[in-house]
Symmetry: C3
Subunit: 155 residues, 3 copies
């Protein structure tokens, strides 16, 4: 078992089946050493596990954080398919985080930390990434969070 | 005539004049083999042909799909200028799709399929791309859809 | 003093301290010659200097333009840390501009010009970039503008 997959196990996590594309696209495209991953939703058992608007109260922030973490887990499943093993990630390059927030939602960083902290836990220093977090007025299938990731592959 | 341009012709489509930038930027920048294209709007005859919010009823979804397809056609016009011919695209890498949706709009994948399916029709397997689709609360010139594309060029 | 830094001085601008990350991420990641920068906010003296929704009246547009320019200045501070000197930028590749706009805000290009025009002033032709501008319903710390930039470094 690879180092990254051991870390997932230690965290009590298991990779879900790689998510199917929700339209006329594919889960990832590689160009040179860069792997561009499609936006992933917080899927569990093939269904969106967190739907609806995120509000800035504590319950909303916790729900949003958990949703972002689940998005990241689905992205990891795609990375494994793309590269054969998570250990073939040289580094996580960038994370674009979209929160389905109520109007004027200002806490997208706290939500997207759910994804960022999972990447750090799994990849260690190689999980340190550039990031952009915004709130938007709607996401596919009414998901609460979506993340779009670029990673660099080892040679 | 190139293979891709023949496919456009078969679809009854013609490349529009490449869209002018709507601000202090340029339509594309190439870095190595990656070509980063500016966001394009659904322009026809130099004007935005689809404006205003997309709602989730059938008429709205059809209008949004047509708008996304027209965005893609404008992106193709930029690609041709950048690379000399559409056949110089090695692959479409990523599509970022932004829908000017009513609040909580959940159908952005169906809208952005209008762009994705045009890329697949024109480029075949090379048109398969990673994608992110979100709804936002406003787009330039009140356009209904905007797409931002990255392609990989042949050597 | 480098050429780009002389231009900043001529503009009466000074690089701020590079902004701290607002979450579990880092300000930039380099992959090959591409430098991916995290989204930056309009920070001044460690605080967000422009907060709240941008409306389409003249005062709003002026405020948004100034906010975008300040975002770009913060991005420049990160670029200097990443590459040692601004003159090590081969070109600005892409700018993603997010405006915290009122619903249906249609003037994001005029706002994001605040960032684009600063890059052009500092880098000259190397500052010409691809761009996407959208309005979103909320930004981190209630900032009025956020920009996410990719630059290409010299060898």
């Amino acid at each position: 078992m690879s180092v990254c997959e051991k870390k997932l196990l230690e965290l009590g996590l298991e990779l879900p089946p790689p998510p199917a594309a929700a339209g006329a696209y594919v889960p990832f495209v590689r160009a040179g050493r860069l792997l561009f991953l499609s936006g992933t939703l917080p899927l569990e058992g093939g269904k969106v596990a967190f739907t609806g608007k995120i509000s800035p109260d504590e319950a909303g922030l916790r729900r949003g954080y958990a949703a972002a973490r689940l998005c990241a887990l689905n992205t990891l499943a795609n990375i494994k398919v793309a590269l054969g093993a998570l250990d073939n990630v040289a580094c996580v390059v960038s994370v674009g985080g979209f929160v389905n927030g109520v109007d004027a939602f200002a806490d997208s960083p706290r939500i997207i930390n759910g994804a960022s902290e999972l990447f750090l836990a799994v990849f260690g220093d190689a999980g340190r990434h550039a990031r952009t977090a915004v709130s938007v007025n709607g996401l596919p299938l009414d998901a609460s969070v979506e993340i779009a990731v670029v990673v660099e592959a080892r040679d």
